[in-house]
C-alpha cells in the first residue's frame, strides 16, 4: 500500500484510539502552503511548455463541468436525501468544488507508477475550485429575499488562500521556468512526497474526528459520500476524454470531480449560507469521501480512465 495512505491510516487510528497526537495548527498551515505552492509551481513550469491556445478548449470544458457538478448534486441531496435547501446547496458546493490533497495523492499515484499525464493539470484545480462554490451558493439563495453581498463573497472566494497560492505558484512557475526554479525545487519538489505524507497523517486525525458526526446520519452520509464521487468520477473521466486528455490526465480530472472541497467551500459557505449545518458537509467531505477517495477511489479512477480510453480508443 502506498505510504501516504499508511500515514493517513496512522492518523485515523491514533484519533480513534484517542491518542493525544496532534500536529500543531501552524504545522498544518505550513504544510498546506508548501503543498499548494509545489503543485502550482510544478504546473506552471509545465504550462509554459504548452501552446496556450490549445489549452483554451480544455479549460472551457473543465469549467463547464465545474458548473454542472453542483447542479447534479443538489437535486440528489434535496429529493433523495430529503435535506433542506441550505444543506443541499452546501453539499452541492462542497462536492462541486475540489480537494487539493486528494489531487496530490492522485498525482503521487501516477508519478510512482510512471504513468504519463498532463503535468500542467494543476490548472484544472484552480479552474474547478470556484465554480462549484458559486453555483452552490446561488442554489441556496434562489428565491430568497435576504441577499448576499456578492462583491465581498467573490472577493473572499477568488482571493482565498488556496487559490492565491495555487495560481501564484502557477504564475511563478510559468514566468521563471524550470531552470531558474531548480534550486528551489529541492524544497518544493524533492520533499513533496514527504510533506504529503505528513499532511496525510494530519488528514487522518482530522477525518477521524468527523466520524462522530458521520455516525449520526451514517446511512445517508456513507451512501452519498461514496456514490456521488463515483458518479462524478465517471463524468470527470468522460470530460477528460472529450477534451483530449491522456489516460493519466483523465484520471486526474476524474479524481478532481470525485473529490469534495473541505477548505475553500466550508469557509465560503459558512459566511454565505449560515443556515447550512457545517457538521453535515464536513462529515461527508472529510469523514467519508476523503478516506474513500484516498483508500479506494484513486486506484479505481485510474482503472476507470484506462477503461474509458480503451473503449474510446
Amino acid at each position: 500500500m502506498d505510504p501516504v495512505v499508511l500515514f493517513f491510516l496512522l492518523g485515523v487510528a491514533a484519533r480513534l484510539a484517542r491518542s493525544d497526537l496532534r500536529l500543531p495548527e501552524s504545522m498544518y498551515e505550513g504544510l498546506s502552503i508548501l503543498l499548494l505552492l509545489a503543485i502550482g509551481l510544478k504546473g506552471g513550469v509545465e504550462l509554459a511548455r504548452q501552446p496556450f491556445l490549445e489549452l483554451l478548449p480544455q479549460a472551457l470544458g473543465v469549467i463547464l463541468m465545474g458548473l454542472l457538478l453542483p447542479l447534479i448534486a443538489y437535486p440528489v441531496v434535496r429529493f433523495l436525501g430529503r435535506l433542506n435547501r441550505f444543506d443541499s446547496a452546501s453539499l452541492a458546493a462542497h462536492y462541486g468544488s475540489v480537494s487539493v490533497v486528494t489531487f496530490a495523492v492522485a498525482l503521487a499515484h501516477l508519478v510512482d507508477r510512471r504513468i504519463p499525464h498532463e503535468e500542467y493539470a494543476a490548472v484544472f484545480v484552480v479552474l474547478l475550485e470556484i465554480p462549484g462554490i458559486v453555483v452552490g451558493i446561488l442554489l441556496a439563495k434562489l428565491g430568497t429575499t435576504r441577499g448576499v453581498s456578492w462583491g465581498a463573497l467573490a472577493h473572499d472566494v477568488f482571493l482565498g488562500r488556496s487559490i492565491v497560492l495555487l495560481a501564484g505558484g502557477l504564475a511563478i512557475g510559468w514566468i521563471a521556468g524550470p531552470q531558474a526554479l531548480e534550486p528551489h525545487g529541492r524544497l518544493f519538489f524533492d520533499l513533496f512526497k514527504g510533506v504529503l505524507a505528513l499532511f496525510m497523517l494530519e488528514m487522518g486525525l482530522v477525518a477521524a474526528a468527523r466520524l462522530g458526526d458521520v455516525r449520526q446520519r451514517a446511512g445517508f452520509l456513507i451512501l452519498f459520500g461514496t456514490l456521488v464521487p463515483m458518479a462524478f468520477a465517471v463524468i470527470g473521466a468522460l470530460c477528460g476524454l472529450a477534451v483530449g486528455l491522456s489516460p493519466g490526465g483523465t484520471m486526474l480530472l476524474a479524481t478532481l470531480a470525485a473529490s469534495a472541497s473541505y477548505i475553500a467551500a466550508p469557509a465560503a459557505i459558512r459566511i454565505a449560507v449560515p443556515e447550512a449545518n457545517p457538521s453535515l458537509s464536513l462529515a461527508a467531505a472529510l469523514g467519508v469521501t476523503f478516506p474513500f477517495n484516498v483508500l479506494a477511489g484513486v486506484p479505481l479512477y485510474l482503472w476507470l480512465s484506462n477503461m474509458i480510453h480503451g473503449l474510446a480508443g
Binding site: R22, E25, Y28, E29, E202, L205, V206, A209, Y262, I263, P266, A267, R270, I271, P274, E275, P278, S279, L282
Partner: protein
C-alpha cells in the same frame, strides 16, 4: 477609574473578519483578539485545524455600545453560529480612549 463595560465574544473563527469590522461600526474604538478552542452547544471545537478554531474578541467600551454589540451579535449570528457573548464591568484610567 472610569466605569466601562468589557464585552467578550467567543465565536467560530470564520466570523473574525466580519465581527471586528462591525464592532468598529457599532462604536467600539478598538478590540483584542486571541485564538482559542472550546466546547459548547455546538460540540467540541479543538483547533485541530483552521476551520475548527474559535476566536475570543474582547472590547472595552461604554455601556451603550456594549448593549448595542451584544444585541447585534445575538440577533445577527446567535442562531446559526457557534458563539457566546458576555459582558463585565471594568474600570479604566484613560476614559477618553474607550
Amino acid at each position: 477609574m472610569h466605569p466601562r463595560k468589557l464585552v467578550v465574544i467567543v465565536a467560530e473563527s470564520a466570523l473574525e473578519k466580519v465581527l471586528t469590522r462591525e464592532l468598529l461600526a457599532l462604536g467600539a474604538h478598538g478590540y483584542t483578539v486571541s485564538d482559542v478552542r472550546g466546547r459548547g452547544a455546538h460540540g467540541e471545537r479543538e483547533a485541530a485545524w483552521t476551520e475548527d478554531r474559535n476566536v475570543r474578541i474582547e472590547v472595552v467600551c461604554e455601556e451603550e455600545v456594549a448593549q448595542r454589540i451584544a444585541l447585534h451579535v445575538k440577533e445577527r449570528y446567535a442562531e446559526h453560529y457557534a458563539l457566546v457573548v458576555y459582558v463585565l464591568d471594568v474600570g479604566v484610567l484613560r476614559g477618553e480612549k474607550f
